[in-house]
Symmetry: C2
Subunit: 682 residues, 2 copies
């Protein structure tokens, strides 16, 4: 190792030490242990800090996101828009250096911290890289040929989400994915011998990975470099470079858990700076030579991008159609007029399950929106996510698809699917991932779903079998709390369409979205095409479907309960009670309509009753009374279950009548009228 | 294979075929493929169908729960309280044979169906078996020496929850755990080659398992039996017997995905019955010889139990203290008066984080409640779940604990931890599992949490770092939707205590519970001991903490926002507005108080404002107005974040004043007054 290497590595280590010390909060240990690997890796990566969005950059994911002091230091040193003053604001409110890496910071590819997610994101990015390369690369035009790198630690490897994603990565033979396992034998509880004694390398090999060990990744820079070279040569397997490191290298507490998540003690900082030949009086010190060293990489990256831009210009001439398409995708805009392909329905069209109507949307738009890419967590024939002419995204050697394919067989790996979708969306070039499973099992992926919302990835969950209406599979499969949960996640659309037009609206809004993910909840059972629905109305998130003059009561419903509510309104009419029926397919979208419009749907003075076959939690936003199911479902024929829970026209009418009588003669405000506006709304 | 073996196996297969056909719904394929293994396994298992709760029975978990027609058929044939008429009611409403196995059905150990969970449950049961054995077994008194068996399929092996649990099982060297992998190469999407080409056996070996392959598990009964014998001899590793089977064995569709989740076609049923030598005209037919054959096992099991009861009677004489304790545990009752050990506080006691107060409860009751067993998902020093004299539950060979230990190092495996806790609770002998992680990461385990509630396992989640108050770790770690999600799960207590007395109340109610699990959300930051709190009041789920004569407004808060609300009430008093402060530490418990009591806390005529630093969803149950955070949190010092979101005495008082002014002069009902009572409340 040269003196300059040593100096640069220790600079990274000490920036992390100083940032954590100044914040009096954070994780110095992993940055100190991983600095050598980062030093070697980043110098041979291809990126342009002046254009962090350049498509053909190599990607780097820090799955052990708590080590972000490492990442922020690197981004600063390599010249990203992250100044030394930003490092001094580490973990302070509104800084550019929050406690875990957040997408949006220049150079941060994905938001990490929740363990295991980054591994899944990296698999997703590598999938996207392979796919876009297969779609656009041509002889002499290697437009996409980067690598996806990922650091992860023991914590990530213990998490199931990482296991799921790693298994799929092996199956998919993602040779462009190169991970680094920080094998430092320490987790928060102390030595990994307490809970984690498996053979990680052997496990990854079982998944189909190539595994290389660097026995002393504290000092053996040549070994790290050689491992990267070897990994790059293995083109038909993801690689894992196992780095045996010392957590907190240089600290008096090196190799112990105490250096994981707490600042180094002042004395320790002094001794480590002295040991590294730094002035202990100085903080956040960067030798000029280190800036100069890393500037070479950044300069080379800028030159590479310039070369690439010229190549792409030539490509656009030689392949005008593909060139235009990629250029469009780089603007993150869908093909103009794509939404005209969305199917529309009239009440004369036959009753269909909304999952089937979803398949019809996918069929209609699949060719028109070529950046749509996705699949199902092994429920393809149930989720109806695969259009008939789809090509599977598979390694060509398996002869069941190729990398240009857009249908991904995720396997029974919901959480992995969620993290992978986030990674695909993070890749750029407007890829629009979707993933199917039963609504109830989106919950398995709650960790990834929340990160999609937090990170602004507009992914789409195709969540079929959305209620007790799935019938015989019973309470283990029937969502109750699920929509309440998802609707409480900030920046998430949760669509539950009632018919074909509403399904089209759900896809219209979901695909139009640039920063908000969606869950589209779809029925297993057939639903009639409604009189009065339209894409335009449903695209407002909520609207009056059945309107009466001076209604006595308003039924507010979603999905499969809308048509039953329409029937309930007829039962009420026979009793002399005039009922409007309001369909609210998506809270998020309805919440963003002008107040006047909202109040036209839910006016003052009229009592309202929500109707949905799940938890009533959350529905008081739009109703005075709630009819729902605050217990678990049951196994049986769907019609029997609906009847048993009294979700019939008569059962609904009964509650509506009680609602009407309860509020009759009383002053009543719309539930939308509140004493103050929330200032904290995403 | 003898003719009788063949007959019995085909009887099982055809019962499953007939049950699925009659229901016109279900999964015949796996039962047909697994019948031989089930036939061999069940005959050598030890159980008494007349007393399914006998402690020293062998346990059987069907992790691929969709194959429940297999399990129900076995339970019927071996003489459990499940008649042939019950099999005919397969998947019908209110039957004893629902679409997936549900705990409560005689002979069903755990509720399965959501894939992967059963593997985790089995690991938990095996842990419990090891622990109770280590605690109570004595020379000549092998009171607990059973095995835990589990069937799982490809779907389970793809799920991260199973990976997590399997890795821990290997670490823990659970030789009493013997699993059977139904390697039939088929999942719902078709051939496993589409998504699942890893080497499962090698992966399990990497986890530390012993793996045995039975190459033809359709016919090689001797091979299956030999594999079980071999597995039993490996006492320091869990075993997996890989069964190469044919899904839908005997059907014309055998070996294809079409036999996985749909009934066999009528023609196919006729041919398979003929092929098996059965009368195609008969359905649900059981030859007398088959009943007789299996009755031998059941009879032997009944005799074994009788012997065991005699052994236990002797044990009680020879080891009166231990004997009494086990006898007590078998009644599922905690030691009398245990709750007297719960700490109580006065306002003079110092401010402490509720996670610290939780540690003090655990310290106080650990010796008094010896059936308390649990740990943390690698956050021990943060969750404060380990009392100082704890012994780790570890394989003795590692020399860091033993199987009598009650502190479990779960590793960073939240979902696995949840499924394992459910299994421990399912074991019986009143084991009361708890598991710690950050509140936000309980969401990783949503699948297991929901099953705890559905299955009535009174497990306890110790969920620390419960809000933006965790500070610097930032929005990736700060719950927003989390409590709204959990509160919407039926049969789940969600405690968020405000001080020491409320923490004691949370544990009091959680441990007193026999069928309702709990999440206890605990602060990272210090909170003052409140004037007016008590265990008794908090144990009602909600109570008036600060009471004024004829209040103008009520502040309704939980956890860390209660003390700030008390300060806000003082700010309001200075403005001439009289405010009550209500603390609602648990919705579930408060919902179950008498209506009169509830209305004394939240009376008609007084406007109320909820105050909680998370999603407002769900709070309208108890308040007219809601002050919360419907966006993501932020990284920074906790105090800065609270201030930024205006959760200060002044910020709360401002919203309270607006609430008061908004409703002044208007008729107002308590939010508890509703037009109709929900009839569907768990």
């Amino acid at each position: 190792m040269s003196d300059l290497d040593q100096l640069a590595i220790n600079t990274i280590r000490l920036l992390a030490v100083d940032a954590v010390a100044k914040a009096n909060s954070g994780h110095p240990g992993a940055p100190m242990g991983l600095a050598p690997a980062a030093h070697v890796l980043f110098q041979q990566m291809r990126f342009n800090p002046k254009d962090p969005a350049w498509l053909n950059r190599d990607r780097f994911v820090l799955s052990n996101g708590h080590a972000c002091a490492l990442l922020y230091s690197l981004l600063h040193l390599f010249g990203y828009d992250l100044g030394i003053e930003d490092l001094k604001q580490f973990r302070q409110l509104h800084s550019k250096t929050p406690g875990h890496p957040e997408r949006g910071i220049p150079g941060v590819e994905v938001t990490t911290g929740p363990l295991g997610q980054g591994v899944g994101n990296a698999v997703g990015i590598a999938i996207a890289q392979k796919h876009v390369a297969a779609k656009f690369n041509k002889p002499q035009f290697s437009l996409i040929d980067g690598y996806t790198y990922c650091f992860f630690g023991d914590g990530c490897m213990m998490e199931g989400v990482a296991s799921e994603a790693a298994s799929l990565a092996g199956h998919l033979q993602l040779g462009n994915l190169i991970c680094f396992y920080d094998d430092n034998h320490i987790s928060i509880d102390g030595d990994t011998k307490f809970a984690f004694t498996e053979d990680v390398g052997k496990r990854l090999e079982a998944y189909g990975w190539h595994v290389i060990t660097v026995k002393d990744a504290n000092t053996d820079l040549a070994g790290i470099a050689a491992a990267i070279e070897e990994a790059k040569k293995v083109t038909d397997k993801p690689s894992c470079i196992r780095l045996v490191t010392t957590i907190g290298f240089g600290s008096l507490q090196a190799g112990t858990g105490s250096v994981h998540g707490s600042p180094l003690k002042p004395d320790d900082i002094i001794q480590v700076k002295k040991k590294f030949g730094f002035d202990p009086e100085k903080t956040f010190y960067v030798p000029k030579e280190v800036y100069e060293l890393y500037a070479k990489t950044s300069k080379a990256g800028a030159a590479a991008e310039q070369e690439w831009q010229q190549l792409f210009a030539k490509y656009q001439q030689q392949y005008p159609e593909l060139g235009e398409e990629l250029a469009r995708r780089l603007t993150d805009k869908l093909p103009q007029g794509w939404e005209k392909a969305l199917p529309r329905y009239t009440p004369q069209d036959k009753a269909l399950a909304t999952r089937k109507l979803s398949e019809m949307v996918l069929t209609s738009i699949s060719d028109i929106v070529p950046e749509l890419i996705g699949g199902s967590a092994d429920l393809t024939p149930s989720n109806l996510t695969r259009v008939s002419n789809a090509v599977d995204f598979q390694p060509p050697s398996l002869k069941i698809g190729d990398y240009s394919g857009r249908y991904i067989r995720f396997g029974v790996r919901e959480h992995g699917m969620g993290a992978i979708m986030n990674g695909i969306a993070a890749f750029g070039s407007n890829l629009r991932p979707f993933g199917g499973t039963f609504l109830n099992f989106v919950s398995y992926a709650a960790g990834a779903l929340r990160l999609a919302a937090l990170s602004h990835h507009p992914v789409i969950w195709v969540a079929t079998h959305d209620s007790i209406g799935l019938g015989e599979d019973g309470p283990t499969h029937q969502p109750i709390e699920t929509l309440a949960h998802f609707r409480a996640i900030p920046n998430l659309m949760v669509w539950r369409p009632a018919d074909g037009n509403e399904v089209s609206a759900a896809y219209y809004k979901s695909l139009s979205s640039e920063k908000t993910p969606s869950v589209i909840a779809l029925s297993r059972q057939n639903l009639p095409q409604l009189e009065g629905s339209s894409i335009e109305k449903a695209a407002k998130g909520g609207y009056t479907l059945v309107s009466t003059d001076k209604p006595d009561v308003i039924l507010v419903a979603s999905g499969s309960e809308v048509s039953i509510s329409v029937e309930a309104a007829k039962v009420l009419a026979n009793k002399g009670i005039k009922a409007n029926v309001v369909s609210i397919p998506d809270f998020f979208t309805f919440d963003r309509q002008p107040r006047d419009y909202q109040l036209s749907v839910l006016p003052n003075g009229v009592p309202s009753l929500s109707v949905e076959v799940m938890s009533t939690a959350g529905w008081s936003k739009y109703s005075h009374e709630q009819f729902g199911i605050n217990t678990f479902g049951a196994s049986g024929k769907a019609a029997d279950i609906y009847k048993s829970f009294e979700f019939t026209p008569e059962g609904i009418a009964d509650r509506a009548e009680k609602t009407y009588n309860f509020y009759k003669g009383h002053e009543l405000l719309s539930p939308l009228n509140k004493a103050f506006e929330s200032i904290h709304y995403f």
